[in-house]
């Protein structure tokens, strides 16, 4: 199929190479060379970038949905017969522990097998993007696993064995609760306190209290509060205005993640989506943003890199597309800024949740 020409003559030098990006994600979903070894434990997040990327490109037809769905379900950590591992349930990032492939329960007891909060989050997203109805997800087990990860201060570990704890995993937790339509998975109030505590003197959010403000953590903070439905409860109008200012100052051409740091494609989404959630993305400069993102496009292999003349990777390829989607690139689907999936996938989530509510005949449980 011939490459599609840009429809904007004024951007003729930097046209968007849709087909290259489709092929980039297709290749990502197949085989990666050994130098990508460091991605082993996070393979499910890579699937998410590729699937959601293809969804944004409206190209999900190039993959075999059922194959993907089965593989994702094989990563679910299910309860054992006696449910002794309930607090370790969720989704794994990959098969690296060596559990034999299985898409159904009961779970296998293994001394080191447990879910990872970011994998549970991207696993659920990926299933939803593929149109799955989550009927094979053990929701109660996922939520039990999630509860086990929250600390006293409101933040979350990634895994029950312990890990670093910070605002990223609050976002994962909020997304999981949102998708499962069940907030019993977390103590919202404590999470809000941690988020508020992460607000820096300069009005961005750091990874935790006292830490330097950063575009990624600011996204996690604001998107979490939006998913919880607590944005205006947690932050005053004045605070919101100040956060808007911090975010909008990140634009230099594309967006940077911190003051006085270079711009990087992924922040076109992290900061752009935050600005969208705060209703001021419309006041950014779309032209300069677009020009920068496209300057990081790899014209040969497809995908996007963090900087021009750098190697593309799945994360930047996906977030570059999302950044373009936010500014209304015509061939791209709209992205839900808080949940970071297409609006199409989001509608599927909503419909699914309606059927859940209809079948139980009760309102979703709020904490």
């Amino acid at each position: 199929m011939a490459e599609e020409e840009s429809q904007f003559e004024e951007f003729e030098q930097i046209d968007f190479l849709r087909d290259r990006h489709v092929r980039f994600f297709q290749r990502t979903l197949q085989v990666l060379p050994e130098r990508y070894a460091s991605l082993e434990t996070t393979r499910l997040t890579i699937i998410f970038f590729a699937l959601s990327g293809l969804d944004v490109l409206d190209a999900l037809d190039v993959i075999d949905r059922n194959t993907m769905i089965e593989w994702i379900y094989s990563l679910q950590v299910l309860p054992t017969e006696d449910q002794v591992n309930l607090s370790r349930c969720g989704f794994r990032g990959s098969s690296h522990i060596g559990i034999p492939y299985s898409t159904k329960g009961p779970g296998v007891l293994h001394p080191y097998d447990s879910g990872h909060v970011a994998m549970t989050y991207t696993g659920l997203c990926s299933l939803l993007i593929l149109g799955d109805d989550l009927s094979r997800v053990n929701k109660q087990a996922c939520l039990a696993g999630l509860r086990a990860l929250q600390l006293e201060d409101g933040s979350f570990y990634a895994v029950p064995e312990g890990s670093e704890n910070d605002i990223r995993f609050i976002y994962c937790a909020a997304s999981i609760c949102y998708m499962l339509d069940d907030w019993s998975g977390m103590d919202i109030q404590k999470a809000i306190e941690y988020i508020r505590g992460s607000l820096s003197y300069d009005n961005g959010f750091g990874q935790g209290a006292g830490r330097e403000s950063h575009g990624g953590w600011t996204y996690c903070a604001i998107a979490s509060l939006c998913l919880m439905g607590r944005l205006e409860e947690a932050l005053s109008q004045r605070e919101l205005d100040r956060i808007r200012r911090w975010c909008i100052m990140r634009q230099q051409s594309g967006f940077q993640g911190r003051p006085n740091k270079p711009v990087d494609t992924c922040y076109s989404f992290w900061v752009g989506a935050t600005l969208e959630l705060l209703d001021v993305f419309q006041y950014t400069n779309f032209d300069k943003n677009r020009s920068f993102i496209l300057s990081t496009q790899d014209r040969l292999v497809g995908g996007f890199a963090k900087w021009p003349d750098s190697h593309p990777d799945p994360l930047h390829a996906y977030l570059g597309l999302c950044g373009l989607s936010l500014i209304g690139e015509p061939s791209l689907r709209k992205v839900h800024p808080a949940l970071n999936i297409t609006q199409r996938a989001f509608q599927h989530v909503q419909q699914l949740q309606q059927t859940w509510r209809d079948s139980t005949g009760s309102c979703s449980r709020q904490h």
Binding site: T28, L29, Q30, V31, L32, P33, E34, Y36, A37, S38, L39, E40, T41, T42, R43, I46, I47, T67, M68, E70, W71, S94, S95, H96, I97, G98, I99, P100, Y101, T103, H110, P111, Y112, A158, E161, G162, S163, Y178, S200, Y201, N203, R211, E212, H214, L227, G229, L231, E232, Q237, R245, W246, I248, R258, P259, L278, V280, Y283, T284, N285, A338
Partner: protein, 347 residues
């Protein structure tokens, strides 16, 4: 005794674990991705061999020296595998390994891979077990000398300082970094961190304002310095600090920047928000006029944010403007101050 370099005729090569007799009792466990693997990483034979044996050890939860040695091999191949690090920590404790030696080990790994989450977390655990932070500040300083904005390094530094109360020399450390690069936003953040946890900002306020203005004169287009200045004044109100507005207006003549202009706008806005009842309407409108002029100036000087500055001006005018119809209209239609759209609020 592991006979890795067992050979007779040929030069020493890496011997697969599956060929080492000391490992013969263990059945290697391959990765099982099922019939249709997705995002499959094509591992070499050596890589698979190490990890097949890692998986075997894990399954049995073996606690042995050979297991500990294998984790080093596994880490060398993939230092981002958090399960390997966790298992290594289990072994460190089960085998009562020398934690000082582990500190040397993790130091070397972080030097090679300073942007990996797992290695910093591992170091924190070892420091906690030893209850000895004595090497930390120097080590982190060394990492920062290679990348002065490494987020992991700063996070670890803040943890060590706060946990072990190592505040004494940190302000000096920050000042040195700011001497090297006054635009280092991480260093400015650390400055705020130190002062807020030690002296606090009340007595230090004048000194800190001086420090900011001094740095701004040296490098006017430095967002970090302006963010810091605004940040320390914000809790009390920008218009509450006597004489500050005048000092900034003076600076505007010689050291102007979008950050200075935005600061002025914020001062005026703060004055409008917090004006006392006895401030005359006329005074208010004068302040508003100055603020709106700044917005126009910003729309010209900071063009990438032109729409935002105009939006701010409109919002301010709608909030504080008089009902005088002779007021000059700003570019674009008036808009109410923006509440977060209900569409964005999810329930």
């Amino acid at each position: 005794q592991d006979t890795t370099f067992l050979s007779q005729e040929i030069p020493p090569v890496f011997l697969c674990f599956r060929d080492r007799k000391e490992w013969a009792d263990l059945e290697p466990v391959p990765q099982d991705d099922g019939p249709n693997p997705v995002v499959k990483i094509a591992y070499s034979e050596k890589f698979s061999d190490v990890y097949d044996y890692f998986r075997a050890l894990l399954k049995n939860d073996e606690r042995s020296e050979r297991a500990f040695a294998l984790t080093s091999e596994a880490i060398e191949l993939n230092a981002a595998n958090y399960t390997v690090w966790h298992y290594r920590r289990v072994l460190l404790q089960a085998l009562s390994k020398d934690l000082r030696e582990e500190m040397r080990y993790i130091t070397a790994i972080i030097e090679e891979q300073p942007k990996n989450y797992q290695v910093w977390h591992h170091r924190r655990m070892v420091v906690e077990w030893l209850n000895d932070p004595s090497e930390e500040l120097e080590f982190i300083a060394d990492i920062l000398s290679q990348d002065a904005k490494n987020y992991h390094a700063w996070q670890h530094r803040q943890w060590v300082i706060q946990e072990y109360k190592l505040w004494d020399d940190e302000l000096d450390f920050v000042e040195n970094l700011l001497e090297e690069d006054v635009r280092n936003n991480s260093a400015w953040n650390q400055r705020h961190f130190v002062i807020s946890h030690t002296s606090g900002f009340s007595d230090a306020m004048e000194r800190e304002i001086q420090y900011c203005l001094y740095q701004i004169k040296k490098a006017p287009n430095n967002e970090s310095a302006w963010n810091y200045l605004k940040g320390i004044l914000q809790p009390l109100g920008l218009s509450a600090q006597p004489g500050l507005l005048e000092r900034v207006l003076e600076l505007k003549q010689t050291h102007c920047s979008p950050y200075l202009l935005a600061f002025l706008f914020d001062c005026y806005e703060d004055a409008l928000e917090n004006s006392k009842e006895n401030v005359a309407e006329e005074e208010q409108q004068k302040t508003l006029k100055k603020a709106l002029e700044i917005c126009q100036l910003l729309a010209q000087e900071d063009t990438i944010r032109k729409e935002y500055w105009l939006f701010l001006g409109r919002s301010l005018k709608n909030k504080h403007g008089s009902s005088d119809p002779s007021d000059e209209p700003l570019a674009d239609d008036p808009e109410p101050s923006v509440p977060v759209s209900e569409q964005q609020e999810m329930s």
